[in-house]
Symmetry: D2
Subunit: 341 residues, 4 copies
Amino acid sequence: MKAVQVVGYGSNLELADVPAPEVTGPHDVIVKIGGAGVCRTDIHILEGQWAEKSGVTLPYTIGHENAGWVHAVGSAVTNVAEGDKVIVHPLITCGLCRACRAGDDVHCAQSAFPGIDTNGGYAEYLKTSARSVVRIDDSLEPSDVAALADAGLTAYHAAAKAARTLRPGDRCVVIGAGGLGHIGIQVLKAITAAELIVVDRNADAVKLAVSIGADHGVVADGGQVDEVLGLTGGEGAEVVLDFVGEGGATRDGVAMLRRAGDYHVVGYGENIDVPTIDIISTEINFIGNLVGSYTDLCELMVLAAQGKVRLHTSKYPLEGFQDALDDLDAGRIRGRAILTP
Amino acid sequence: MKAVQVVGYGSNLELADVPAPEVTGPHDVIVKIGGAGVCRTDIHILEGQWAEKSGVTLPYTIGHENAGWVHAVGSAVTNVAEGDKVIVHPLITCGLCRACRAGDDVHCAQSAFPGIDTNGGYAEYLKTSARSVVRIDDSLEPSDVAALADAGLTAYHAAAKAARTLRPGDRCVVIGAGGLGHIGIQVLKAITAAELIVVDRNADAVKLAVSIGADHGVVADGGQVDEVLGLTGGEGAEVVLDFVGEGGATRDGVAMLRRAGDYHVVGYGENIDVPTIDIISTEINFIGNLVGSYTDLCELMVLAAQGKVRLHTSKYPLEGFQDALDDLDAGRIRGRAILTP
Amino acid sequence: MKAVQVVGYGSNLELADVPAPEVTGPHDVIVKIGGAGVCRTDIHILEGQWAEKSGVTLPYTIGHENAGWVHAVGSAVTNVAEGDKVIVHPLITCGLCRACRAGDDVHCAQSAFPGIDTNGGYAEYLKTSARSVVRIDDSLEPSDVAALADAGLTAYHAAAKAARTLRPGDRCVVIGAGGLGHIGIQVLKAITAAELIVVDRNADAVKLAVSIGADHGVVADGGQVDEVLGLTGGEGAEVVLDFVGEGGATRDGVAMLRRAGDYHVVGYGENIDVPTIDIISTEINFIGNLVGSYTDLCELMVLAAQGKVRLHTSKYPLEGFQDALDDLDAGRIRGRAILTP
Amino acid sequence: MKAVQVVGYGSNLELADVPAPEVTGPHDVIVKIGGAGVCRTDIHILEGQWAEKSGVTLPYTIGHENAGWVHAVGSAVTNVAEGDKVIVHPLITCGLCRACRAGDDVHCAQSAFPGIDTNGGYAEYLKTSARSVVRIDDSLEPSDVAALADAGLTAYHAAAKAARTLRPGDRCVVIGAGGLGHIGIQVLKAITAAELIVVDRNADAVKLAVSIGADHGVVADGGQVDEVLGLTGGEGAEVVLDFVGEGGATRDGVAMLRRAGDYHVVGYGENIDVPTIDIISTEINFIGNLVGSYTDLCELMVLAAQGKVRLHTSKYPLEGFQDALDDLDAGRIRGRAILTP
């Protein structure tokens, strides 16, 4: 089959002809790819930033945001059948460790991550596991939802966790109205009545955020902390969801947080660097957020089927992978680029 | 009445004769002091560290850990009567703001803090509010429990919050086996079956911790992180309760924390300074902890009455305040110093 | 002032001229009534059903769903001022008992209930407490929201409690699309993405429910259990919110509940009568729901101000009280009848 | 191998020689039985009470409380290895359905129940699954803990769920100090500081309950409701854990429950039959409790290893099965009877 592979760090990806994956274990599921999201992480992989962490052997096929149709299943697979339309959770988890047994599968003690540390979905077929495939509604197309498998799932996870404490009248600041923030805003609108204040450096992104439901948009041009304090009666917001995590976002974000508030860390880059005296005297919390669980992905697919979460996509044939990466790198993509083998 | 007052920053406290407080408002409660805890914060106040923050006008009476007997009550007080034996919650709260109405009174929008920003309990009588007095069991003496009013209450609050997620088999690291840690350990033993690992620089404190129920004691002499990892199968603990918060404790503590674990910040001094990438990739949380609520204090007094939380005290007459402070400063106090007017 | 009073059980209400209430205690608040809801409970009171339970002395003024403007306040009132537009929580609570301190004020150990056991709001002025008044948004009128003070608050409380466990993809059956159900549906739409299945005997009520956001409407004409099972893949719903509680509703409702589901009891009349073997083998829960807390009322007023919860009202002058009761009794009211003194 | 089988309802069990189970699926685990608990359910099975519900084909091997050593494992088993000492969760679950993915495996959509609907553990070997075996501490013996696999696990599950809301000062009534109650009391002592009030008809059982940690023992001889109300200041207990569920226990239990309290249903026999008006006016809850999850069993084994949960056992060789059943039926067993093949 055709697959797009990393052949060397610092080199371009290459289209190769490789053997299609086959069922070898009882829980294996082979998915015919309908859409594979092109993510900034893919660029970082090519630059070698993940080389040591993943320990993957080159060449290998990248692509960690995948959806498609079930092509073949192992002997013990009971939850999907050939032909089912599915989205693929990014992790392959063991199902037996303590975390898996508690439903907290992203902390699986022995997970694999196709596209990062084993072959991924820039290809005609992908090998994953019964524990990683979620059937999607007839009304959804794999190429439309593929990018929800990782970026969207992370945003859903954080927004849903935050929503558990948000009551009507509470304010939630969303820092960053890009790919993740865009999903986070739609999720929060669907499951809370909290007032949403969206902060971004890009005025267009702020405008878009307001158009999809944000109650207030704030352009981060220097006065953003004061503006948010003004919108929250001088007290700050009960929750800050930080999808940026760099360039001073965390310093600003903490200043926007109300006493006893929760600061959700999602984006990354800089350090959380806050005096312990401030943490205790205001009794604030910093909440880490990784990608969502399998159950989170099921829930996100419900919101997608209900039309409550939508994602703009630009589609490319598999062979157009270089165009997709170039467009992403140049900031020419609105929403997400998707390869459709 | 006799009262010990701050007359100037950088000066010694002075014993003065001042008018006894009287009931003026409907919720006022006058407490005849049975015991007033001598706290390191009192030394900091004298040094002027709180001058700006509290904005208090000198001279004033210090002492924020108080217990005694109800001496007089305002017209609207229904929860205590003259003669009742009580411990005094450190804050006077309004009862009407959003935080108070939610039971989260330590975040009251307009609280007062006797001993810090108004007259406290190094005196024969203290003026507080109906919302601040908790009746204590007949078996308890005010001078024995006074120090639980603030230091103990903070430890209870953090330990009880941590306990909500601790299940049998989980490990909880307690950093610091001093005044607060000592209470925290007893609380955790009373309300969880978690395995307690206590870390302190002082070998005697570690020994004491083990004698009151810690499952493992670790002397922090450089190898503490490895030792804790060894005790937790290399994975770290589900919860770290940090009663120190300075001198490198937070760096160590984060290294002792398991994936998806909670780091409870109680002690303070240095910064929490952690890369956001580490926070999200392990999905850890930092939980701030202020002093406990009125309800927390009621619960702590139950544990004290049940004999599950005990505190060693050294008692001094009110006039011996300078000895008490000197002994505290010189590290000659085991447990807590208490003034007994 | 003018007031409508119960002068005897089995007799009609009478308009009387009585002294206006005055501030006597520090927390008293006198509200000039802008709207007083006419509730079926008022008819029950007249029939004598509450005589023994309330122990009230006749004559007295009824009316327990009130809103208006602050007319006068006691010396210790800090949360409202003369002229403020407010809705009145139905209970006057003490603020000092265990329940009040935990924010669970509806379980106050010594509450009063104006309109039931003391003078209520079918009058020009009402005496209540600082702990019972919630300021409302400028955009809201007292006569429009008065009926949210009790019926609406009960529906909010139950719906908000249910929402805490409802995730996207979950189903929630609402039994009864009358006054409470109507509010419950709007609340659930505002704060969850659960699929709402509304069941009522009245086809018009079902139609109305669908028009305000229910995903499915089921007319209870005998086949309602099968119909709900059909809508839930044969498994039943994660949550049933029963606003009826009589006429066989509970038997039906339990049959519509999924394994591990929550059955929220709100309406009343018949018994919950279920074999313990069925409760344990399916591990279902029955959750009682009383009127909401002060905090719940604050949250409901936010939803009202956001336009997410609306109530149809028919207004009558205070002197038209008999017409209002007659219309209510005869089923001629759509939404709620409101007296506007 | 030797196995004790049901050969007909109304007939005695018979010892048979049957083929030992073998690994056929990837997740199969064969356990060499070290202890099999003899449970009252086994008597009910013989009486035919479960015939229709289980649909099992006779003859088959009974025994659903099992522990032993891993004898053989399937190709996909990674959590245990040959020779490991294990206790066996009573259910074999699929790991792929919604409930399993959420960690709530007892609600698995396609579980099997060895000893009830397929061959169980009154035998030399038992076939179960990787998802059902929990490694136990070196200090524990299979024959000592076997009875914790079902009866003990149910008690743990209910007690642990109840403990989540119990704070110091709260009261918990335990109805029934027999097999399950005995475990429940030990669990509650280990993980809460709540005051335990144990109610049983049998004075010896009450005495035993007090000896293992109950704070108050109440003999149910007619005055039990008043006695419990007396012990709770007339208000009732925050939690009632009912391990009986028949003979009037539920009527008594509800009368012992405080406003806003939780009634945990564990034992069964009669109906919960309570007016909805009482449920809403006191806002009480009825909480169903099935057997515990895999994670619950892991936690219970920690308490057993810590010596916090102990069970008295009477051991019989496998061939002595009839003696064990006769002794159980005649009330001659203290604690639990265990077959040790």
